[in-house]
């Protein structure tokens, strides 16, 4: 009888343990780099909804900054404390891939593509070495911003070529105003604006197929020369600008034109907020080029857990996030900045119903159009070389511009020095 009781009690205990183990949800930690409070709040609202509808999975966010994560994430993975999901931009993916912390998402992306149809330019930077390394989540593409009323008063039409652009900037300069606000800081913003000139002169590739550097070529030199010429019409402190200063210059009407991912939020809150007057256009191209292109940053989400159950849960969550009914709300964590990466996302009511997005609908539509011809340095040939992470992080494109703007070198000499620096980085 005693033995029977013991066996029964043990059986009951095992059953309870098994039951409780089965009921334990899979917990995913997501490091995302959207720190402003309104973005964290919107993501949390979505997570609460997901966690409620999926009791077997719990996703928690841990906001990080882009400034820290390049050092913090590798250290966390080395210490065994890395996240299960990690936001990324293409060059950051190469860093995480190099330390073996990212898991391919080929099947997931294939399924999502069939269902939602990714915009090709957003997927390409994550597809190399035979795999897809992140799920595209949102896109950012540089556009040219201006005021229609200012152009009209100056008798200008929207410039399409570099010569028209320079003429427009010259006409808008004077009386304490600057025709254009172009940065020349050794910083990511300048990398972006410089590369947007390069892609508009057909100098998109900085690598050859064999991984050697192809930066020093006549097209790149011409792009730098055009940039330096226009930069002379920018405010004198522009060699120390980041995104905020350019946006402030535009909002205060000191700058006639700027290149930005968006100015909608600050223009709406801090400037006139007149949607009818806010102009956005594709970045002008070199006179001998047929069409405009731009730099675009496809932000993705990587799966960075080796645990099979967590990988499965992560796929469920990412699939849920890209469903049109949720995806638009995700993009509108910062209305007018984050652009859809899927075709059905671009049509989703949840995206277009936001009041700010509705107010600036024509601008957002133009931004989406511009993003379709977006490229990113180091991710244009279908082959990705690990040194792009260091080339991007060290802002070599911006450094090259500073040799012209600050040191007074010729564009040809500066590009030659840029080629040498990139080659040195690639060789290490």
């Amino acid at each position: 009888m005693t033995a029977f009781r013991f066996v029964a009690a043990a059986g009951l205990a095992l059953t309870l343990l098994a039951g409780s183990a089965h009921a334990e949800p899979v917990t995913l930690t997501w490091w995302q780099m959207e720190q402003p409070p309104q973005r964290v709040k919107r993501i949390q609202e979505l997570l609460d909804q997901f966690n409620k509808s999926h009791p077997d999975i719990q996703v928690k966010q841990e906001p990080q900054s882009w400034g820290d994560v390049y050092a913090k994430a590798p250290a966390a993975f080395a210490a065994g404390n890395g996240p299960d999901l990690l936001n990324s931009i293409p060059d950051f993916t190469t860093v995480i891939k190099k330390i073996g912390a990212v898991v391919p998402v080929d099947d997931l992306v294939k399924d999502l593509d069939t269902k939602h149809h990714f915009i090709k330019a957003t997927l390409a930077p994550y597809q190399y070495d035979g795999h897809t390394w992140a799920v595209p989540a949102y896109n950012m593409a540089l556009s040219m911003w201006y005021r229609k009323s200012v152009f009209k008063a100056a008798g200008l039409s929207v410039p399409k070529t570099w010569s028209e652009w320079k003429a427009a900037a010259q006409k808008l300069s004077g009386n304490g105003k600057y025709g254009i606000g172009l940065p020349a800081n050794k910083q990511l913003y300048t990398d972006q604006t410089v590369y947007s000139f390069m892609v508009n002169d057909g100098a998109a590739n900085i690598y050859k197929d064999d991984g050697s550097i192809a930066f020093d070529n006549p097209k790149t030199v011409a792009a730098y020369q055009a940039y330096a010429d226009l930069q002379k019409l920018s405010p004198p402190d522009s060699p120390s600008w980041t995104w905020g200063e350019a946006e402030a210059c535009f909002n205060s009407k000191s700058c006639g034109m700027v290149l930005q991912f968006t100015v909608i939020s600050s223009y709406n809150a801090q400037a006139e907020g007149d949607a009818a007057d806010l102009g956005v256009a594709a970045i002008p191209h070199a006179d001998d080029q047929p069409e405009s292109a731009t730099i675009s940053y496809s932000n993705g989400i990587m799966i960075t857990t080796k645990d099979a159950a967590k990988q499965k849960a992560a796929k469920v969550f990412l699939s849920w996030l890209l469903e049109p009914e949720h995806y638009g709300r995700f993009l509108n964590m910062e209305p007018g900045l984050f652009l859809p990466v899927t075709e059905d996302g671009a049509k989703a009511d949840s995206f277009w119903n936001d009041p700010v997005t509705t107010k600036y609908k024509s601008q957002v539509e133009t931004m989406i159009d511009n993003s379709k011809n977006g490229k990113l340095f180091g991710f244009t040939t279908g082959k990705v070389f690990p040194s792009i992470g260091a080339i991007s992080a060290q802002d070599v494109l911006a450094e090259t511009l500073q040799h012209i703007v600050v040191d007074g070198q010729s564009a040809a000499d500066a590009v030659k020095a840029g080629q040498a620096h990139m080659t040195e980085i690639a060789g290490k």
Partner: protein, 291 residues
């Protein structure tokens, strides 16, 4: 006596062990890393001997950054000493509101670095900043200038901003030194007919000198290691004009993904600073002994 010494060691041991853990171990790690070829933090490295030292000492980056660090330290020392000494001398006088002035003078020192940077970036901006219009009104400049747009002006602007932040702290240290000078010395000098200049050169300066020397040593070490203001203001630019050694170390480790090379520069920087500290301490000791 021996028992007392042993007991003293027992009491001091926990603090020593704590210091070894939080200061000694990272230093040892940095030395170990400097003999390896680690790239990205967290990745594996291999022993490479003195290759990193040969590369760093044989290249230009380390020496250029060291030169800029020297300019930075000397510039800060000169500007802060002038501002702090003047302030300390004023605060050592008796005038209405003295207590309020002594408290509020430290305001710039207690403001967080990020706030200091935002304030100055805005003040110096050409889009709504106040400095350019003021200089134009005063007829000093004819059109707005970019303070961080040229190599020389960027370093000068940074030194002035950093000195603006730190001089109140130095001034309070000097004030403490001034208040230790006996008042009857000045009284006797006045009776002997010494004017203000002679009282300063014959009493204030000689008696304040030990305080200034100590402040000089500590200030040099603190200035040398300043990273936050430089990084947030210019990130070492334009065109590396403000890239001091701490900035170079950060750039190399976290932007260039060359952790071992950064560790090598850190070790060499530590050697430079330790040598300076040892030499300065010896000089101070010799000076004290000779007095």
């Amino acid at each position: 006596m021996k028992k007392n010494t042993a007991l003293a060691f027992v009491f001091v041991a926990p603090a020593l062990l704590f210091l070894l853990a939080v200061l000694g171990w990272p230093l040892v790690q940095a030395v170990i890393f400097s003999f390896e070829d680690i790239g990205i933090i967290g990745s594996q490295g291999h022993f490479v001997g003195f290759a990193n030292y040969a590369a760093v000492l044989g290249g230009m980056h380390f020496w250029s950054a060291l030169g800029r660090s020297v300019v930075w330290v000397v510039g800060n020392a000169v500007v802060q000493t002038v501002l702090a000494l003047g302030t300390a001398l004023v605060l050592n006088q008796k005038f209405p509101g003295l207590r309020v002035a002594r408290v509020w003078v430290i305001l710039t020192w207690i403001v967080p670095t990020v706030v200091v940077v935002i304030i100055w970036r805005w003040l110096l901006s050409t889009s709504g900043g106040m400095i350019n219009p003021l200089l134009m009104e005063a007829g000093i400049i004819s059109r707005p200038i970019g303070f961080f747009a040229t190599r020389r002006s960027a370093m000068v602007a940074l030194i002035l901003i950093n000195s603006w932040r730190w001089f109140p702290f130095t001034a309070l240290m000097m004030l403490a030194g001034l208040t230790r000078i006996p008042g009857d010395l000045y009284e006797a000098a006045r009776i002997d007919g010494a004017n203000a200049r002679r009282r300063f050169t014959r009493i204030t300066w000689p008696l304040l000198r030990p305080t200034l020397v100590v402040l000089g040593v500590i200030g040099t070490l603190l200035s040398f290691n300043v990273f936050d203001v430089i990084w947030l203001m210019t990130a070492g630019g334009p065109s590396q004009a403000t890239e001091t050694l701490p900035v170079l170390i950060y750039e190399t480790a976290f932007k260039g993904y060359r952790l071992s090379e950064a560790a090598t520069i850190s070790v060499l920087t530590s050697v430079v600073l330790m040598s300076f500290a040892v030499l300065a301490t010896r000089a101070m000791t010799a000076s004290e002994a000779g007095r």
